[in-house]
Symmetry: C2
Subunit: 332 residues, 2 copies
C-alpha cells in the first residue's frame, strides 16, 4: 500500500458541562457504591443538556480550526462522522456547517456512518481525495449524544456511555514532511448486527410507531458477552492483516488509540496485541464510550498530552456495531 499524503493539521474537543460520576450512576441504578466503576471502568462521563450535536460539533470544530491555525471559511469539505444523526433529514454535517455560520459558504457536507468506527471510516475515505488533490482542508467532526438512547434497565450497557464531541482537521502533507496513512482496513460481519443495535427510529420501526410499552426497541441494546466472543475470534486475524498491509509491527507503533468501547474490550485488544500500558491510549475513565467521538477524542488527547509526537506512528483501532472491525496506521 502506498502511503497517503495526509496530515493531521489540528484537533479539538468539546464536553458538555454536566458531569455524571460512577457514584451518581450507582445511585441511579440502585447498585452498591463502587459497582458502576468496577463494571465499567468509567469514573466520570458528561451528559448533554439543552444542546444539540450540531452545536457540540461546531464547538469542537472551532477548537480544531484554532489548533490548526485555519479560518473556517478556508475549509473545502465538512464530514460528520458520528453514529446517530441530529435529525433524519438533512445530513448532520449540513447542520454543523450552519451552526458554524458557514451556511452560505457552499462548503460540501456529508455524513459517513459506520457507528463507532465512523471517524476511522471517514478519515480512510477522505484521505484518498486529499492525496489525489480534490480537497485540501477537510473537517471531520464527531459529536455524539449517547445519553438520550440509553436503557437504564440494561445496566451493563447504560453504564458505559458518555456524550461529547471531537473534531480533526486534515490536509495534504507538505512536501518534505512524512505524515501519512500507511495502511487501513475495515471488515464487517453483518451476522453480528443484532449484538449491538437500536432497532427503532429508522424506516423499519419509525418514530411515529413509538409507544412507551415498547421503549426498549428505541434504546440501545447490547449483548455484551456474545459481542465479546465474536470479536475475540475475529480480532487476531484482522490485526495481522492490518499490520501486514502496513509492513509494520507493534514495535514500530508509538501509541495504540483504541475505540473506548468498554474497559473489557480494551483489555481484549491489549492482550491480543500484547500492548504495554504505556503504548495504550485509555481515556475511558474520564469520558466513557462516546460512540464515534471516542476515536478522534483519543487522538486529540494523545496529541494534547504529548503522547503522540510528529513522526510517531499510531494505530487507531476499533470495533463497532455492524459488527465491524477497523484499523488505521497513521504517521502523525
Amino acid at each position: 500500500m502506498k502511503t497517503r499524503q495526509v496530515k493531521v493539521l489540528g484537533t479539538g474537543a468539546y464536553l458538555p458541562e454536566k458531569r455524571v460520576t460512577a457514584e451518581d450512576m450507582d445511585r441511579r441504578l440502585g447498585k452498591p457504591e463502587g459497582w458502576v466503576y468496577k463494571k465499567s471502568g468509567v469514573k466520570v462521563r458528561h451528559y448533554a443538556e439543552n444542546e444539540s450535536v450540531s452545536q457540540m460539533g461546531a464547538k469542537a470544530a472551532f477548537a480544531a480550526l484554532a489548533d490548526a491555525g485555519l479560518e473556517a471559511e478556508r475549509l473545502d469539505c465538512i464530514i460528520c462522522t458520528n453514529a446517530v444523526p441530529e435529525q433524519p433529514i438533512p445530513c448532520t454535517a449540513a447542520l454543523i456547517q450552519s451552526e458554524m455560520k458557514l451556511g452560505d459558504s457552499g462548503i460540501p457536507c456529508l455524513d459517513v456512518n459506520s457507528t463507532c468506527l465512523s471517524f476511522l471510516a471517514g478519515l480512510d475515505l477522505i484521505s484518498y481525495l486529499i492525496d489525489a488533490g480534490r480537497y485540501d482542508r477537510v473537517l471531520l467532526v464527531a459529536p455524539e449524544i449517547a445519553s438520550v438512547g440509553l436503557n437504564y434497565s440494561q445496566s451493563e450497557s447504560a453504564i458505559l456511555f458518555g456524550d461529547g464531541a471531537a473534531a480533526v482537521v486534515v490536509g495534504r502533507t507538505p512536501a518534505g514532511e512524512s505524515s501519512g496513512i500507511v495502511a487501513s482496513r475495515i471488515e464487517t460481519y453483518g451476522s453480528g448486527a443484532a449484538l449491538s443495535e437500536v432497532r427503532g427510529g429508522g424506516s423499519k420501526l419509525p418514530s411515529i410507531a413509538y409507544e412507551p410499552e415498547r421503549i426498549a426497541d428505541f434504546l440501545f441494546d447490547m449483548q455484551g458477552e456474545a459481542l465479546f466472543k465474536k470479536t475475540s475470534k475475529l480480532l487476531p486475524d484482522f490485526l495481522k492483516k492490518l499490520f501486514g498491509e502496513g509492513g509494520v509491527t507493534l514495535e514500530d507503533v508509538a501509541l495504540v488509540i483504541p475505540h473506548q468501547g468498554s474497559a473489557m474490550a480494551m483489555r481484549l485488544l491489549q492482550r491480543k496485541l500484547r500492548i504495554p500500558d504505556d503504548k495504550l491510549m485509555n481515556i475511558i475513565e474520564q469520558h466513557g464510550n462516546m460512540i464515534a467521538a471516542s476515536l478522534p477524542m483519543g487522538l486529540h488527547e494523545a496529541i494534547r498530552l504529548g503522547r503522540l509526537k510528529r513522526g510517531d506512528l499510531t494505530a487507531v483501532i476499533g470495533i463497532s456495531a455492524g459488527l465491524s472491525l477497523g484499523g488505521l496506521l497513521l504517521e502523525y
Copy 2:
C-alpha cells in the same frame, strides 16, 4: 481534473409490489380527480409493505450483480447511499450485507449520507479509492421507504414520493477502455437546511419523545417555494463550475440524469441548462421522488432503455435537503 478510472459494471432495481396511482392519492387527500397528477407529474408510485430497506436493497443489489456477471462474494466494499437508515444502529450497509447472506464475509460496510444526493456523494468518494486500487468491485445501494415519513396534511410534498431501491456495481476501468468520472462537484448551503427536513427521530428530538400531537415534527416537512427560489439562484453558477471543471459543455453530454425531486425542480434544471427533452432522463411519472434511490434508478433506467450507451457522457445532477447541489460527469 484527472479522469478517475471507474466503470459502471452493472445496475439493478427493485420496486415494492403495491402501486399507488395519482387517482388513489386524489381520493386519499380529498382532491378532485387529476389534481395530484397535475401538481406532481407522478402517475404511479410504489409503497413498501412489510419489507425493510435492507430487504429491498438486497434485491436491487442481486439484480445489479447479475447484470455485472459478478458473484456477491467477490465484492470488496458495500456502501449504503440512502437518506434514512433502517434503524439508528448499526449502519444500513451492514444490514444489507447480512440480508445478502454475506454476514460472515468481512466485506467492509458503511453508509454515506447526503440525503437525496447520497448516491452521487458515495460514488464520488469511492471513485478515488477505486482509482487508487484500494477496492475494485464496490456495491452502491440506495433503498428508500419514503412512505413512512409523509405528512398527508402537507399535500404539496406528500404527493411527490415513492419507495424503491436501486443498486450499482462499480469497478476499475479495464486498460484500453475509457469509462470514468470526468468531474464532480458538491456544494452545501446549510442556511437552507430547514427548507426540507424531518426534525424528529434523531438525537435532538428522539423517537422516545414522540407524541401523536407533535406528529408533524416526525414527518417530512418541505417549504417548496422557498426551496425553489434558493435553488434557482444557486444552480446556474454551480452548473457552470461543474461543466468548467470537466472541460465539457452540454453539447458533449448524451443524457442528463437529474434527481427526480419534483416535476418543477426538473423543469428548472432543464431551463437553466437548456436541455432538450431527448437529453433529459425523466422517470418521475412512474416512480415519484424516491429520495436517494432516484439517481441510481435514473441511471439504471437510462442504461436499460438504451438511452445511455458505452462511451456516452452523462451528467448526473441533483439538489437535496441540506441544502446541497451535486453534479457528476460520467463517461459510461
